[in-house]
Each structure stands twice: as C-alpha cells, then as structure tokens.
Amino acid sequence: MPANSSLPNLAAPAPADGGTSRRSFLRTSAAVASGLAAMAASLAPLRELSDFGSVEEFLQKHYKELTPVEMEQALARIRREVEKQYGLRPHVRDLRPMDGVEFVYCLNLTRCIGCRKCVHACVAENNQSRSPEIQYIRVLKMPNGTFDMEKGDHHYATPTVPEKGFFYMPVQCHQCKSPPCVKVCPVDATWQESDGITVIDYDWCIGCRYCEAACPYFARRFNFAEPKIPKEQINADMAYLGNRPRHKGVMEKCHFCIQRTRAGKYPACLEVCPTGARKFGNILDPASEVSQILRNKRVFVLKEEVGTLPRFYYYFDV
C-alpha cells in the first residue's frame, strides 16, 4: 500500500501491538476529557446570571394574542417583578386606545429655549434607565438660518439658555403614520395602535435592532444592559405598553406617555415645559389646540421626503 501520510488507511488491519492502541486510547481520552472540561468551564460566566426571566415570560404570547385572563396574569407577573426589584407595589394596567382619538404633537420653535426639562421629566415619568443613560428626547441646538442637522449640537451646556443666534429643536418619536420601524420588525413586536401611538411589546421584542436602523429620527433606544433606576425615583403609575420597567435586550421609545394620555392627561414633557412650547391633543377634535395650530400656523415636519408622515409638527408663532 502506498504511504499516504494525510489519510489513514481505512482498509489497514488494526495494529497488532496492543500497547500502541492503548496509548492512543489514553492520549485521545485525555484530550477529549480536557476539551469537554474546557467547554464546560467556558460557560462559567453564566454563574452570574441572576435575572433570567421566568418561564411565564418566555412562553408569553404576543400582546395582540393575549386573552383578558392572560393579560391579567401578565400584569400580575409584572407587579410581582417590580415589587421584588424596587420594593414598591406598582399600579400596572393595560390601557386601551380611546375611540375617535388620534394624537398629534406640535412643537413651537419660537418658544423652545432648550432648557431640557422635557428630557428629564420624560426620564422620570417613564422609568428610563439612568445607567446606562436612556433619554427618549434629544434637543438639538441649531444655528439660525439652517436645518442641516449635522450643524446641530446635542451636547450644549452653556450657562444659560436660550443663546442668541440659535434655535432649539427637541426630537422624539414622531409616531409616524407610515412608520418604517413597524415595517421592518421581523416579529411584529412594534406596531401602531388606533390612536396613532407606535407601541412596543417589551416581552416580544427579540432585540435585533433593525427598527433602530430604520428610524430616520433617532427615536428608538435599546437596552444594552439591565436598566438601573434608583428605587425612590420609580414612577409606580404604569401601563403595559408604556412605562413599566424594561429589561436588557429590548427596545423602547417615546410612546406619548401612554399611561397619561390614554387617561386623558398631557404627557410629562408638555407638563414641565416652562414656556409652553409643547402642544398635544386629539387631531380629530377640531377645537383642540393642535387642530388650531395645524389650521393657522406655518407647520413643517422633519425629513418629509422620507415619506414617514410624522405626527409631530414643528411650527413658529407667526
């Protein structure tokens, strides 16, 4: 038989020398055993995994497929988890959209002074992670005369605002009528409700971040780590699709303070704005302030050419 050093001769008889095959058995077993030990040891970091979700959460169906009983079970589970993690009993409910309501947001660029109170009120209201920091609203400081966002400054920290020669433009989720994020989600974890709010089922999202790539407004945020919120700053008034605490690996974003607005209140960002630059309401009600604005003021939307049809309108006083 010609010697072919790379391939064993399968037709060759077993070695007559018992010592060789015993040696080969031992050396193979040693390598295999140590290989398996190394494989087990490589998973050692999993020892630190303390916050793995419950089986209930793993098997939970999509929000739109939950029966009322299953929804109650899910809410009870969330109450238990929040109580365990933060030591307070939250008021979690599943608020449904109201009929005859389509929410619209208007922002007065003449009045915004860039104080960022909206950013932080939102963080407090919606139980956003403080570390790593998540903020749904981003305020851009733009020089007068341009809308080129590359010229915007996100990190201004002047002693006072507003600064002369600039205007301030807060950006958050526009709850677009033709949302690219909804189009691209592979598992339907984000969709638009009848009142116009684009919502996320945090227990369904797989964290692929395709929606984050698709959003033209930098509206969506991902939990790269388990959120850290100081216990005393938790807002206990929660909604399933809104501000209940999220976990690592899922997306979140502005949802027009769904726990407030579906109860008839204004969102937190509007409440705290010192100049009244933010306006919110039901566009289907012709007497609402947002209807008035769209009728009487010069409004525009960002990146209109992308075709998202935002429900967030910027306007000037005159």
Binding site: S24, A37, P45, C115, H120, V123, K265, Y266, K279, Q292
Partner: protein, 241 residues
C-alpha cells in the same frame, strides 16, 4: 519523529491547551470585558411643573396671602406717585418695588431643593434681589419702551389697572390688559396655543389648567428669564478600551 509520536505530541499539547483554557475561563469569570456604566440620577427640579412666578390671579385663586400687594400700605391716597427717569428717558426702578416683584418669583420652579440658594434680606426683612435676577424692573418693550408705570397702573387708584382706552381692570383681570396690545398672542392663548396649558387634554376626564399671562411673564420685565439648561446627554465614550 514518526507519525504516531507526532500525534501523541499533538494530543498532549491539546490536552494542556484545553486544561489551561478551562482554568482561565473558571478564574476569569468575573471580568465582563469592560463595562462602562455612567451613574446619573434625575433631580426633582427636572420634573417641577411650577411656573417661574406667582401671578396675582394665581395667588388670589389659590387663596394665598395678598397682603403684600396692598399699595396703600406704603402710598397715601392723596399724594400721587412720581416715577423717576434717567437722562436717556428710561425709568429708574424703585428699590422697594424690585423686592416686591422679586418676592413673587417661584424659586422652586428652577432651583432644586438640595441646591443651597441663599436669600439675602435687608434690615427690615425684605428680600434683596440677587445679582443673577436683577432684571431691569420696568423693561416692558425693547423698541418702544413701555416703561411708564401709569401706562398700565391707574394713577388714581393704585389697586387697579387701566387699558390705553381708559377701561378699568382689576389686578386679577390683568390678562385683558395684555390683550389690549398683544392681540395675536392673546387669541393664541385663548385657544391654548400660546402659553402653558396643563392637566387634561380630554376635558371630559378632568380639568385643563391654563396659566394666565403673568404666571410666566413679569409685566415689568416680560422677557422670560434665561434658564440654566439641564445636563446634556452622556457623551458616549469608548467602552472597554
């Protein structure tokens, strides 16, 4: 070295390699590859929805103490008040009025409780206007200079206001006085488009709280005070390097 010996050598090397990596994994389990968590808390001032000042209307509505607003506590009815003007014709604000005006500022609207704001008082216990808040009292109008006190205040009755047309208004009706010049803003305000409109958008479920003009605009210095901006977003730093 023949093939068999080479194989033995390789197997031995692999065994050592696997054993070594097993030990490394087990002992290195704690390291998380470099996490950077930035710690950040939200101060309560960020969520304060109060207006920067307390208007007379607000004060009256909420049943607050309006005794300090009694003009005839200091002025006598038969002696008219004479405002002073400088060489350029600008009003020289009276020190006493500066304190009155300032005492209705709502510190908590902008300052956090934990911030140590030091108020200074004069010998009579009145607040001294801090340097940071020395608005030019009576700077109503940048071009026309609507500085004359009696453009708005009624000289014959200091507890009342009057419009340019002569209509008399109570202090709690000051909004109508603003409207007599600022028509477009007033119309917007009526519709809720201008100013602060808080509470419930759905009036069937609750009341909407509409603040009047003087809750935000000090009629003596209507330009809104500049605020200190709250912290910017954490600038994403390189992690794990």
């Amino acid at each position: 070295m023949n093939d068999n010996q080479k194989t033995s050598a390789v197997m031995a090397a692999l065994t050592a390699l696997f054993a070594g990596t097993a030990v490394a994994f087990w002992t290195n389990a704690g390291s998380s590859g470099g996490l950077a968590h930035q710690s950040f808390t939200t101060s309560r001032v960020f969520t304060n929805t109060a207006t920067v000042r307390l208007s007379v209307a607000e004060l009256t509505k909420s049943g607050g103490d309006v005794s300090g607003l009694d003009c005839y506590a200091c002025h006598s009815k038969d002696k008219p008040v004479a405002p002073k003007f400088d060489a350029a014709g600008r009003l020289i604000p009276s020190v006493a009025h500066r304190d009155v005006v300032f005492s209705r500022m709502n510190c908590a609207a902008c300052h956090a409780p934990e911030e140590k704001v030091e108020l200074k008082f004069d010998t009579e216990g009145k607040i001294l206007t801090p340097a940071a808040h020395t608005n030019d009292v009576a700077q109503h109008g940048r071009t026309i200079g609507n500085d004359h006190c009696f453009n708005c205040h009624d000289p014959t009755n200091l507890t009342e206001l009057h419009t340019p047309g002569g209509k008399k208004l109570k202090l709690t009706e000051s909004t109508l006085l603003c409207a007599s010049c600022h028509g477009p803003s007033y119309r917007d305000w009526q519709e809720g488009v201008h100013g602060r409109h808080n509470g419930f958008w759905n009036t069937k479920l609750g009341a909407t709280d509409r603040k009047d003009c003087t809750s935000c605009h000090d009629p003596h210095a209507p330009v809104l005070p500049r605020l200190k901006p709250l912290p910017p977003p954490f600038r994403t730093v390189l992690k794990g390097h």
